[in-house]
Symmetry: C2
Subunit: 341 residues, 2 copies
Amino acid sequence: MKKKQNITLKALAKTLDLSISTVSRALNDHPDISWETKERVKTLADKHNYVPNLFASGFRSHRTHILGVIVPNISHYFTTTILKGVLEEGENLGYRVIISESKNDEKKQSEMLRTMVQFGVDGVLMALSRKTKSVDEILKVMNRLPLVMFDKVSGKIPCTEVVINEEEAAYNAVEHLINTGKRRIAIIKETEGSYNSEKRYQGYLRALKEYHIPVDEKIVLSTEDISLAKGRMMANILLSLKTRPDAIFAITDSAAIGVIKALNKFKVKIPEEIAVVGFSNSASSTIINPSLTTVDQPGNKIGRTAVKYLIDEIENPKEDMFSKTIEIKTNLIVRDSSFKA
Amino acid sequence: MKKKQNITLKALAKTLDLSISTVSRALNDHPDISWETKERVKTLADKHNYVPNLFASGFRSHRTHILGVIVPNISHYFTTTILKGVLEEGENLGYRVIISESKNDEKKQSEMLRTMVQFGVDGVLMALSRKTKSVDEILKVMNRLPLVMFDKVSGKIPCTEVVINEEEAAYNAVEHLINTGKRRIAIIKETEGSYNSEKRYQGYLRALKEYHIPVDEKIVLSTEDISLAKGRMMANILLSLKTRPDAIFAITDSAAIGVIKALNKFKVKIPEEIAVVGFSNSASSTIINPSLTTVDQPGNKIGRTAVKYLIDEIENPKEDMFSKTIEIKTNLIVRDSSFKA
DNA sequence: CTGAAAGCGCTTACAG
DNA sequence: CTGAAAGCGCTTACAG
């Protein structure tokens, strides 16, 4: 084994001619210990570069100071911004973070959850994988460990949830289109209403309703596995309609970019003939031409907030579990695809 | 504390009327134990859903089965593909992964390294933060722990390194431009020669040399903190030259995209007047118009390979440290920015 | 084939 | 103010 041993409490105690208990307490600033002793101990510890074996203390105290995070896909830009927030805030509060990818596989998700529990994490942060049918495994884990969910959540799990104001964000996006004079606004959403898709659709409906614009089912399009390619397909469908829409709201940036690519191909003028709005403010939204109007989701803040709530639950355990939803505000970023100055 | 206790060896031993030692050995398939006993033990363990407390065994055996990963920036797409590979292969081999971001801050990087050691990870995987001046801290860690570096490496650290064939990749990219008839090929690289930038520049030089094209310093541009904005600036400079280049090789995709944006703005025909090649095959390379010819870096493979070597070093420790460089092959992806079919 | 016992490095109730 | 001792859950050399 290559691992060189760190200096231990025992060794310190020996050279100081004190008991291990006293050294331990001195290092932990226990009030019982005299100022003098503390000084002596700390000086020697510093000199020898003493670092406590977190493993031993964790084992002893049943606390590992590790948080587990489970996300469907680590390479989504939005996910990485959340993870950044989690890492930063976690570190600030003295926790390390273990990350797992569920790859939108429900079985894998359950497995990971179990491994994390077995591993001894102090709490779990998770975004549900798409199409999670059964939440039994998750509920089981909740009996043992604090759990906070973010982004992709489920009403069936009574825990703290940190999400963005999906409905309002969509409402704002559609309202913006209405304010620029658009009246025939199409939406591209997911077939199997995920939490996010459903909320955004509701925001769309509310905006239309409040501005007394009738809903036309012909321009409400749904697709599975929403993507750039699907966005392009949907745009083709919309272009083939007798009465084309004058705006398209896609509930993801990638679909919106697919839409723009299709419109560009057919030389449809954006935004004059058809305006486009996406959702996420992904990196690509400023690469595409025209640049994409989209909803900025503050991932960092979501991550930080989720961690804060989780650590609070870890450090101040409460007996009863109950749902609590924290909504993080988003911001519509207006670019050329919907408005030309 | 909310944590419900898992069933322990002790409890199992009691109900089976066996010693703890025997139960432990039975579960670990120790050859000494009779087949019958093993069966009895395993059956009961399954029934009670026994999971070993990894923390206790880790503490005992000085092995945590955690790997630490330190990367400069978790939201670079290329980095996430590497991390994916690390997570996948790590999981396969029974390791969990702790991820940290150094944010290209040398001090932070050292801190993280120390925390990881203290924490008890079994090995560390890292990509150096930009402009790392001193490797002392890293060398110190190497005395205690296996270390494997990837992507951003340093010749000063005698450890296994997993990198892509930077020089060859750049050579191939430039050769491709030459093959399409280009002769006046500009390069946009980094000022302070990072490992990657330097290697790519060497590949550029070798290609020119082998095809007997003289190097013209006027079209060898360097910039700090290479980025989209910088790419755009460099393109403007190149456009203002008396004799414009007929191709631009940017050593990152973002710079290449900045170049394309600038060329588009001035209605320069791509690739007829000026061809553009980038490096990374980032998501944006197919969003930009024209789509970007670029070098695909197999991040997943890099991650998997790095983990394999690391775990091998953990499980089969050798006394002497020595450098070993594993090169992963890249692939040039030809798109519209350099060649129109 | 099985068991008793030591020990990993630390914390903490108990005693003085 | 300080110390002796138990114990967290497991593994493993030693003994039989």
